[in-house]
């Protein structure tokens, strides 16, 4: 870790790293500001009402963007979460795999552990798929109980 000379050698390695980040951020701001500022100086200024509208594929926007989303999006989000966070285990495993694999008696465990883990996750995906929860519109014909379930709901809603 070479401390940056212009910050002085007294700074710790940690501070040195933060300084790098800070400088990067500053450079970013200056670069963006410079580009916008120069553009503003040299471009022609000719505003018209049509230019000021929110751009939506050339169409005028209809209604507010604060609308209720379809509840199905939440379901998709749930599946995404479940299959997304597996990476938190995959990543450290992948980092260590090269080191651990050659060790006798350890390589097989390290490899198969992850295979089993992924296998169980795949099974979960298959379960969701087979149950029809990945379809955007659930096929109601395949579930004859569905009408009955609604009846059960009404029955239990009236129960004390």
């Amino acid at each position: 870790m070479t401390a940056m000379p212009f910050l002085g050698t007294a700074t710790s390695a940690l501070t040195g790293h933060y300084a790098t980040v800070l400088i990067f951020v500053l450079v970013g701001f200056v670069f963006a500001g410079l580009a916008l500022g120069v553009a503003k100086l040299i471009r022609p200024s000719n505003p018209s009402p049509a230019k000021m509208t929110t751009y939506e594929c050339g169409e005028l926007p209809i209604g507010s963007s604060w609308i209720r989303f379809n509840v199905r999006f939440y379901l998709i989000a749930l599946f995404f979460i479940v299959f997304d966070v597996e990476v938190i285990f995959l990543y450290p495993w992948a980092v260590m795999f090269r080191t651990l694999y050659p060790i006798a008696g350890l390589g097989a465990i390290v490899f198969w552990e992850m295979i089993i883990f992924l296998g169980i996750l795949t099974l979960g995906l298959a379960y969701v798929w087979a149950k029809g929860d990945l379809d955007w519109v659930k096929k109601l014909t395949e579930r004859p109980e569905n009408g009955a379930a609604t009846a059960a709901l009404e029955e239990e809603a009236s129960a004390p």
């Binding site: 710790s12 940690l14 501070t15 509840v71 939440y74 379901l75 989000a77 749930l78 979460i81 479940v82 997304d84 966070v85 938190i88 285990f89 450290p92 709901l153």
Partner: protein
Amino acid sequence: MNVGLPHFLTVSAILFSLGLFGVMSRRNAVGILMGVELMLNAANINFVAFSRYVEHSINGQMMAAFVIVLAAAEAAVALAIVLAMYRNFGTVHADSVQSLKR
């Protein structure tokens, strides 16, 4: 300024208090769950900070990774239950769900 253990602990304590406040003041079930996420992340900050400054080992970071996964799993299950409740009751407000005897 040197960033040390007390800074991490302060941030985590603030986060935990905010989470607890959210849990106690929210009526919306999803809002309560967001408060819980804050509390879990406060504990995560503690784990990572202690693992860096106290134990000098990787155990705390491992714990944090598992907690993140569990938090996701818990959020998934809880949101699914909130959805089921929304379909049955037409609301996500935890205190307006009162079909069971007090």
